[in-house]
């Protein structure tokens, strides 16, 4: 009789309404050639939500449910992950791949699910009038290119006239993103821009580095990912290129990128969209998540460059959820409400301090028209044993990037048959 009653009770529970949760898909890559970058990002992304669940009972009292799906950084698998999870009320996708992002933009927009492509993806998604469901705050590739040139301008007394700059890039949608901005900047500042493409995955760059050795450009800007990063840094060391003049973007400045070269890579610089170093939130993650056995990984990535970025991305998603909950007055929000929350997101220094991440990123506010944030980035440098911060957050030249954003986004709107929203009323 007791077991019968238990079964009846269990059946009644199973038949009742499902418990509310906030579903966050994590399109991760823990396998394949790009796993070394995918693992720490995913660990940071998941561990922050695990912290909110363990410490606060979720967001607004509703637990977060992270659903991880392995993409192996493969566009087709990324789309499969989207298709497999889109029916589960996902609040926001973080595809972590420019290729996957390009495929998901029309699908997610049609499904009413927001995308957050933080520091990657389609740059012109900054224009919220065209890309209603795509957000790429706090910075994008064109910002990165502009910030790099601003840094070089400052180091060269405001003039790059007559200088030669080579862009060494991954021959993919990702790697080609900054070319237009750099061409515009080259025309504006009078430097010569040379383009050197490297085919994926980038294990072979011998010919490109022979070219660099012959031409001795003043600076090499670098858009790499995966094994391409480690090989490029090693090749730069091999040809004795001055490493302080070799500058990577924020996807080419992680711990594992310099690990194999170690001390020999000292001097190599890279941008970062978030601050590095210890933060109070790490101690909380250690005690509530890692020590409690709730971590996504083994906990060894805590505090690394890409772990910190994954955590930052999760924090931005969590803050957008809070904003959406406040706007709509419900805790169990829908993807449409999440989109509203992302569009109204405002991140202040006081709030970052409160979250245990003081100054992790610049202050910014998202709006209907501007989905891109400030575009600011810091310059970091590998000193042989760790990444150190060289600068405060540096602003890009919006007068260069903004016209390009408008031109590209409006071209996309015309091509995709999108009638841009009017944001002036909101």
């Amino acid at each position: 009789m007791k077991s019968l009653l238990t079964m009846v009770a269990a059946g009644a529970l199973a038949a009742g309404p499902a418990l509310a949760d906030l579903m966050i898909p994590d399109l991760s890559y823990r396998t394949g050639p790009f796993a070394a970058g995918g693992i720490p990002f995913s660990d940071g992304y998941q561990d922050y939500f695990a912290l909110l669940n363990a410490r606060d009972g979720g967001i607004g009292g509703v637990p977060v449910r992270v659903v991880e799906c392995e993409t192996a950084y493969n566009t087709e698998r990324g789309v499969e992950c989207y298709e497999a999870t889109r029916g589960d009320n996902p609040l926001v996708y973080q595809p972590l791949s420019t290729g996957i992002t390009y495929q998901l933009i029309p699908r997610a927009t049609a499904d009413g699910i927001p995308l957050h492509t933080m520091g990657y993806g389609r740059t012109s998604a900054v224009n919220g009038e065209v890309f209603s469901h795509v957000f790429n705050y706090p910075a994008n590739y064109w910002d990165a290119a502009s910030v790099m040139i601003n840094v070089l301008l400052e180091e060269n007394d405001g003039s790059l006239e007559g200088k030669s700059i080579t862009l060494l890039y991954h021959n993919s949608a990702y790697g080609r993103e900054p070319i237009r901005t750099l061409e515009t900047l080259a025309a504006q500042h009078g430097f010569t821009l040379n383009l050197l493409a490297v085919d994926s995955p980038g294990q072979e760059q011998g010919n490109q580095w022979l070219t660099i050795r012959r031409e001795r450009p003043d600076y090499v800007l670098f858009w790499g990912w995966g094994v391409m990063n480690q090989v490029a840094i090693q090749e730069a060391i091999n040809i004795r290129y001055p490493l302080e003049n070799f500058i990577g973007n924020w996807w080419a400045g992680a711990d594992h990128d310099v690990a194999s070269a170690g001390q020999a890579a000292a001097g190599y610089r890279a941008l970062n969209m978030n601050r590095l170093g210890d933060m109070p939130v790490f101690a909380e993650i250690q005690s509530h998540v890692i020590d409690a056995g709730l971590a996504a990984g083994d906990g060894t990535n805590l505090g690394s460059v890409l772990y910190t970025r994954g955590m930052y991305a999760a924090m931005l998603a969590a803050e957008a959820i809070r904003t959406a909950q406040e706007i709509h007055g419900v805790a169990d929000i829908t993807p449409a409400m999440m989109r509203d929350g992302m569009e109204a997101l405002e991140l202040t220094n006081a709030r970052m301090e409160e979250l245990g991440m003081p100054g992790i990123g610049p202050e910014f506010a998202v709006s209907c028209a501007d989905h891109g944030g400030t575009g600011m980035a810091i310059m970091t440098q590998w000193n042989g044993t760790e990444w150190v911060t060289l600068s405060e957050f540096i602003a890009p030249d919006d007068s260069v990037t903004q016209p390009l954003v408008m031109e590209d986004s409006l071209a996309y709107a015309a091509e995709a048959g999108i009638e841009p929203r009017n944001c002036t009323d909101s």
Partner: protein, 328 residues
Amino acid sequence: MPDQLIFAMEVTLNGLLNGVMYALVALGFVLIFKASGIFNYAQGVMALFAAMTLVGIQQGRVPFGHLINEIFGTNIHYFGWEVPALAAIALTVLVMIGFALLVQRFVFKHLVGQEPIILFMATIGLAYFLEGVSDLMWGSEIRNLDVGLPQGINDVIDAATFDLFGYGFFIDNLDISAAIVAGILVAVLIAYAQYTKNGRAMRAVADDHQAALSVGIQLNYVWVLVWSLAGIVALVAGIMWGSKSGVQFSLSLIALKALPVLMLGGFTSIPGAIIGGLIIGVGEALFEFAIGPMIGGATENWFAYVLALVFLVFRPQGLFGEKIIERV
């Protein structure tokens, strides 16, 4: 001498040395194909597995550490000792021989007499299985591989060419080491095949399975031997490529560079793998140097296949492959 000619000479030399690196991967394919008719799709993953195992042993890592910790709630990652490079290489060779035994025992023994396409499909399965095992066994992080090979510009060549041409050539010491190792490896493999009992058995099996069986040669034994040799070649390739980029999962993709080499050199010739590698290495380097800048660069990957296809049109069996004549 015109600058462009001097640069082309530097590019050619580097192309030749790159070609040696490709040939190192292609050699493993040739060994297995020659003896068993199997196109081993898993050769690239074997290089990855061998290099991961070498680094794991060197650093005293606990194999399957993540899995053990997950199941038993422990936090063990290292044994607490480090193994010298040569001893670690020797132990890795033993692991690769063990792998060959397992592959033969559990996979190919059961597929004797099957169509080549079935055997090929089995190696695809093996590749993905081995990739997963590597991940479980050693993790996905990038490992630094240091077996004492010199790396960086060779100053002697730099200075000598500067005296000659007024421009110092860049030649990587690691590439020179790879060329020397490849030369020794090929000489040892050829000598082994020509002058040892096992080598003669391998050649007999390669020529005719049935005839070899009829004179008492054990097919299983020879196949284990061949897979072991391919495992050792994979280890050498893994060391050379892993020294450049760290040992990481993209190492498995180096197999893609071996395919045009095989198409060009032939699937059954050890010297063919070397010559094929050199032609592909020089061909793609010179094409990238001369034509690449006009068409956006990054031509190496596809041009290697175009070059191989051109050779295929005129010599379908490859430069050194055996011409197969089948009577109808």
